[in-house]
């Protein structure tokens, strides 16, 4: 895979939240890229910085968060062309014309269950109309109109054409009777159907990349299975990249080709999915994989669990942030020296002193 295939390149990204009690390093040195047509999985527990990273890619970090270092490069390429233009997203005006073309138009996104999402995040001054098409459905408007509006905002089509595309998109995401459903209101749909509508909105502009942040977490397994199938099908048909954020290891194993593991704002490991599951290097990844119950034949009586609690983000441990919970903790080293990002054979990256000469 050559560098030409890189779509989004995140370099040493740092995002900090200046809250009254101190500064929280929500993302601290994230470095990875997303290639065209590829699915990159990002896993980690709540508060590890995975969603903030996703929002930084769209230059919409919620206040009081701020990008304090690093950059996000977007390799923009017009459809059918081989000319690539490099855009540094972190440098763009968050309300500017360019970023608004990219958001929703070239990089689409879906978040958790759209009507009940707890904290819809807006950047300062983001136009409500746009924010709405980006994050959630407006309860009082027909779903078809909402899709059509997004299409018109990013593609040069007439109102009638936009409506036809909307119907076609609803059909593709598996909504029964799309000609009628296009005129229903969000509350008339079930949770699974609403999430499918959100996918239709996100994909209606044929984005180069889709950011999916826990898109199936609130759904039942049977609906989840349908949504994952739809996403994969659509990805193949338009060669779209997906950044898939989840805490569900089963979902990520099915969807991702490559996985980044995050813990307390730091990326601790990155590898091809198969390597990560069969040969995890970082003690945190290993513990995570052992701590989930697996469906099938019953094996052990007890689950391996990670000791202790997730640390307070305002008072992070010294050295490696995972050391107080780590089964391979080396006194005098892990609590003093912060590990750096190391490349191991086979494009496997890890941040751990076990793999580092110090």
């Amino acid at each position: 895979m050559n560098d030409n295939d890189i779509l989004v390149d995140i370099q040493d990204l740092k995002v900090e939240f200046d809250v009254r009690a101190g500064v929280i390093k929500a993302v601290d040195g994230a470095t990875f890229d997303i290639k065209r047509g590829q699915t990159l999985g990002v896993i980690g527990e709540s508060g590890c910085g995975k969603s903030v990273t996703a929002r930084a890619i769209l230059n919409m970090v919620p206040r009081p968060g701020k990008v304090t270092g690093g950059q996000v490069l977007y390799y923009r390429r017009a459809k059918g062309s081989t000319q690539t233009e490099v855009i540094n997203i972190t440098k763009l005006d968050p309300d500017g014309e360019l970023i608004r073309q990219i958001r929703g138009g070239e990089i689409g996104m879906i978040f958790q269950e759209p009507m009940s999402s707890l904290t819809p995040v807006y950047t300062a001054g983001t136009h409500i109309g746009e924010a709405v098409t980006l994050h959630r459905l407006i309860p009082v408007r027909k779903v078809g109109d909402q899709i059509a509006e997004t299409i018109q905002a990013h593609r040069h089509v007439t109102k009638q054409e936009a409506r036809e595309i909307a119907i076609e998109m609803l059909r593709r995401v598996g909504i029964p009777k799309p000609e009628q459903r296009v005129d229903s209101y969000p509350h008339q749909l079930s949770g699974g159907q609403r999430q499918r509508v959100m996918i239709a909105v996100a994909l209606s502009c044929q984005p180069n990349m889709l950011i999916a942040d826990e898109p199936t977490t609130a759904l039942d397994v049977s609906i989840e299975a349908q949504i994952l199938d739809i996403m994969r099908e659509l990805q193949e048909s338009v060669n779209m990249a997906i950044m898939f954020i989840t805490h569900n290891l089963g979902v990520i194993a099915e969807m991702a080709e490559e996985i980044v593991v995050m813990y307390m704002g730091k990326q601790v490991e990155r590898a091809k999915t198969i390597d990560l599951f069969y040969d995890p290097k970082h003690p945190y990844t290993r513990a995570l994989l052992q701590s989930i119950p697996r469906i099938g034949r019953k094996t052990g009586i007890r689950l391996a669990s990670i000791e202790g609690m997730v640390p307070d983000p305002l008072h992070l441990p010294t050295g490696c942030v995972f050391h107080p919970r780590c089964p391979s903790f080396m006194p005098g080293k892990c609590d003093k020296i912060a590990p750096t990002w190391q490349k191991l054979p086979g494009d496997h990256w890890v941040s751990c002193l076990l793999y580092q000469e110090v």
């Binding site: 049977s222 299975a225 119950p293 469906i295 609690m309």
Partner: protein
């Protein structure tokens, strides 16, 4: 009480034909225009010391079933037989029908049945200290005696992995996993025999989930508890349960030993549900059975077997006659007309 066949054994709770209908009211006069059959003629039992997992998709009635058992909801019909020690003068065991008890009797029996809730944030009173939260059931039941009870509470907190000095703190000072531990300590404060766990780990992070599941298992062994474990995560349920019951639109469709159910399901719904669970193994080639359409509307269910419009094996009889919930193999119950002839795939 006569028990047939393999059902004999140390039955602690025996639910028979339980129904909970919620009326749908319309208009100014709030006329009842129909019913949501949240739990519709459900039968199952729990043996002493075991964990019965109750699974199904959202809206299938699993939570309602759990709550109707301890009469947080009044049952519409049916019997809930529970082997209680509270209603006899000498503390000997006798089966009582929880659906028939009056308030006074029910309050006594509630000492033996506790509940753990899903949301560890909203199920704890933010204005009470941890000590008061754990003590509250004792106070309500008039069992709080100053020095002894305090010692019991400290002991309980330590047992669930909290520290004695947490006693005077408030819920907001704790993380989600710790709050769930507080809820568990509260549930155990009256020394119950049956604990109804309603999605106890689904709001927790993966690493905290494993700790909590291990804790529940340790407590079960040490305090000789029986659990009804209501959850939608099939891998968690398989891990913790001895037996598993599957519900669909208010009906029980299958119940069997956990491993038996997962490896050799007899109901097409169980088969489809299992196949949809994403496996944490990138080498696994998924062979999902995609169920067509949406879950049936519990206020207007289809005729015959409720699952027939989505079932890929459905025959004529399935749309005409509701299948009976029967014991096809020893300890393996199923409600499907075709259970004998179908060869279904497990996980």
């Amino acid at each position: 009480m006569a028990m047939q066949g393999s059902k004999a054994g140390n039955i602690l709770l025996d639910v028979k034909g339980l129904k909970k209908y919620f009326p749908i009211q319309k208009g100014f006069l709030r006329r009842v225009v129909g019913y949501v059959k949240a739990v519709d003629d459900v039968s199952f039992f729990v043996r002493e010391g075991e964990t019965l997992g109750l699974v199904g998709e959202s809206g299938c009635g699993k939570t309602t079933a759990g709550r109707t058992i301890i009469r947080l909801y009044e049952p519409t019909a049916g019997h809930v037989l529970f082997r209680s020690r509270q209603l006899t003068p000498d503390g000997s065991e006798t089966f009582v029908d929880l659906a028939d008890l009056d308030r006074q009797q029910m309050k006594k029996v509630r000492r033996e049945i506790a509940m753990i809730f899903q949301d560890p944030i909203n199920s704890l009173n933010p204005r009470m200290t941890v000590g008061d939260i754990v003590a509250e059931p004792m106070v309500i039941h008039g069992q709080y005696r100053r020095p002894e009870s305090e010692a019991i509470i400290v002991d309980l907190l330590q047992r669930v992995g909290l520290r004695p000095d947490h006693l005077r703190r408030y819920p907001h000072e704790f993380s989600g996993g710790q709050r769930q531990r507080i809820g568990i300590a509260r549930a155990l404060s009256l020394n119950p025999r049956l604990v109804i766990c309603d999605e106890p780990v689904s709001a927790l992070d993966v690493s905290i989930q494993a700790q909590t599941l291990n804790l529940l298992q340790d407590l079960q062994r040490d305090f000789h508890l029986s659990y009804i474990f209501v959850a939608h995560d099939l891998s968690v349920v398989q891990h913790i349960s001895d037996r598993v019951a599957v519900m669909y639109v208010g009906k029980m469709v299958e119940m069997a030993d956990a491993e038996e159910l997962y490896l050799y399901p007899l109901h097409p719904y169980t088969e489809a549900l299992m196949s949809a669970v994403p496996k944490a193994d990138p080498k696994y080639k998924s062979q999902r059975i995609i169920m067509q359409g949406d879950v049936a509307d519990p206020s207007n269910p289809p005729p015959g077997c409720y699952f027939h419009p989505r079932c890929r094996y459905a025959k004529e009889i399935c749309s005409q006659k509701a299948p009976e919930f029967r014991e096809l193999k020893p300890d393996h119950f199923v409600a499907c007309h075709l259970a004998e002839e179908l060869k279904l795939r497990g996980v």
